[in-house]
Amino acid sequence: MDTIYTLGIDVGSTASKCVILKDGKEIISKSLIPVGTGTSGPSRAISNVLDSVNMKKEDMAYILATGYGRNSIDWVDQQMSELSCHARGAYFVFPDVHTVIDIGGQDVKVIQIENGAMVNFQMNDKCAAGTGRFLDVMARVLEVNVKDLGMLAAQSTKRVAISSTCTVFAESEVISQLAQGSDKCDIINGIHHSVAARVVGLAHRVGVRDRVVMTGGVAQNSGVVSALQEELGHQVYTTPLAQYIGALGAALFAWQKATRKK
């Protein structure tokens, strides 16, 4: 039987990710460009993922796009919501997953999964609090790299309370805490709990069942993961592939479509 290659493209609001899957089982190539829809990110991510394995679009049996900017790529075989793709990608990595929490650049999703399929979900409202953008804003105010937030939070000895209701107000709270001389690490700890509190509210609307898996770029922040664990009262699992889970799910759906097509 011929080898089947499928490509999943996840065009997010702040990053573009691609995954090439071999026979629906093995990731042979992945790429990430830290800019998303409306930029050169998607085309660069696609070129990178193909070039690294010396392949062309035509070598792909099926190409599926997902993410906020999925509709901007109109030449693909299909577009699907990032909700189903995150559910499928998480199920591939953790076959016993029941709850997926994905914190992306501008939205938060909590997805309920039964036997690998999404049965229900909740998303944040029109508000940046609790999203990756919230962390970007806070990192800028604190003059630290967003990638270092987790490591810095681990050095905290006490948590500073930060509001979870509004990015703008939370930003002024952080500024006022800095002015009062609070420790940066303690403020970051508070920021992570602020994000976690928003997510927990959404998660309880869907209902939380083990295993809980966190996906998306923010899953790389160990501070948010541990704050979420604490606030949720459930162990939260993540994977080094967290940021690629949407693209992986898209590639898995693409494989499913390609094999059905045959």
Binding site: S84, M118, M123, K126
Partner: protein, 425 residues
């Protein structure tokens, strides 16, 4: 200064011929005429020096109708203005007057109009009021909204206060309380109309209102057919009649005519839905009127028909006698407890066989949206269907995001597909 050169316009390629609009069916045309007549009658009254009233949508219309008073409905006006994309300008005008952006979009549009800001939607221009009729069974914002209009124009406000129902039945004390206000409203309106209240005519008007309500509910019930002979979005359009002209015999006749057309559709296997019905959903809440096209687009793409809406049948007030009328007006969506609200909705979902629920978190309507997370939890648990929410607004387009909405609808479709696959094993 050089004169601007006048040149003939360059030859333009012929624009593709527009697909001619399908003429409305006789039933739909009759319904449109009823609403146009309501607005025309108000202008006529104003010109003739007779008083014109502005009324909340669930004020018992039977009183003013009995006294031959011309009445128009700011909620219908605001929805029409918003649907014609003039709502944001009027909302902004109200905000410039000092009204907060968090206040209901209908109220902001209406307050701006009341203050003299004209609308570009000619069909929804209406004369300024000489009295206002307010019933707060639909929401509490209404009370302050109408107080403000009354104060702006220095005109009488006739108020019927409907208490919130903490139980699923309407207590007799509530009925007595409303009945007392009803009697007082009649006296005030007799004074405004300059004539005595005719009990015989009142009975006739109540007969018309009941006939309208029954015909309207019959129309709503056609959504139970699978596939449905109509698009659920049609109900949103037809609601204008049940809001503005419940007590008129022409409204009852128009709905009865529409019901016969739908019956024909069922027999012939036709539908007003312009695409095959793949999934059936409940749309919870008032539509985003300025974004009807955006709302409809992903539904069309994915074959989703709205076959259940609680907002539409909520205007079907059927009653027998005055006490029962008071009891009926107590049961508006925002004046009943959550148990009653869940019961209504789940009943419609079961009867109209829905596969999923799409909830509008309407920034304009806090009472309606506030209890939705708990309702969603119950729908999911009791009906075993996915239930998805999006943010929007009934009148202010600034509170709606196209891309967010599309993702949620696509997610709902994918969840319904997974649900269906799981049920089929």
């Amino acid at each position: 200064m050089a004169e601007i050169e006048k040149t003939a316009p360059a030859a333009q390629p012929a624009a593709p011929a527009k697909k001619p609009k399908k003429p409305p069916t006789p039933g739909v045309a009759a319904l449109r005429k009823v609403v146009s007549d309501v607005y025309a009658a108000a202008w006529e009254a104003k010109k003739a020096g007779r008083p014109v009233g502005w009324s909340s949508s669930k004020f018992p219309c039977e009183i003013a109708e009995t006294l031959d008073l011309a009445v128009v409905y700011p909620e219908n006006q605001a929805a029409g203005i918003a649907a014609q994309h003039d709502g944001e300008r009027l909302c902004q005008a109200a905000e410039d007057m000092g009204y907060d952006a968090d206040i209901c979009g209908y109220a902001r549009i209406s307050l701006a109009y009341s203050a003299g800001v004209e609308t570009t939607n000619v069909s929804r221009q209406m004369p300024q009021p000489d009295f206002v009729l307010c019933c707060n069974n639909i929401c509490n914002c209404m009370t302050k909204w109408y107080e403000n209009i009354a104060r702006m124009h220095n005109i009488p406000l006739i108020m019927i206060d409907v208490p919130y129902n903490n139980t699923t039945h309407v207590d007799d004390t509530y009925v007595a309380y409303i009945r007392g206000q009803f009697d007082d409203a009649i006296k005030q309106l007799e004074h405004i109309a300059g004539k005595k209240f005719d009990e015989k005519k009142f009975e006739k008007v109540c007969g018309n209102a009941n006939r309208t309500a029954k015909a309207w509910l019959k129309v709503c019930n056609y959504l139970q057919y699978q596939p449905s002979p109509m698009s659920g979005f049609d109900l949103f359009n037809h609601m204008a009649d049940v809001v503005t002209a419940r007590g008129k015999v022409q409204t009852a006749e128009a709905f009865e005519l529409l019901a016969t057309e739908l019956e024909e559709n069922v027999k012939e296997g036709k539908s007003t839905l312009p695409f095959p019905e793949k999934y059936r959903i409940m749309f919870e809440g008032i539509p985003c009127w300025p974004e009807l096209r955006a709302l409809f687009k992903p539904l069309k793409t994915n074959g989703l028909n709205v076959t259940a809406v609680v907002y539409a049948p909520a205007f079907g007030f059927v009653y027998d006698g005055l006490d029962d009328l008071c009891r009926a007006y107590c049961k508006a969506p925002n004046s009943v407890c959550i148990e009653q609200g869940v019961d209504w909705r789940e009943g419609i979902c079961r009867e109209n066989k829905v596969d999923g629920v799409l909830v509008h978190y309407n920034r304009s309507c806090k009472p309606w949206s506030g209890y939705m997370p708990e309702m969603q939890r119950r729908f999911t648990e009791d009906l075993k269907v996915p239930c998805v929410a999006f943010d929007g607004d009934q009148a202010d387009p600034r509170n709606f995001n196209d891309a967010q909405y599309e993702t949620r609808v696509q997610g709902l479709v994918e969840a319904m597909e997974a649900n269906k696959a799981a049920k089929e094993g």
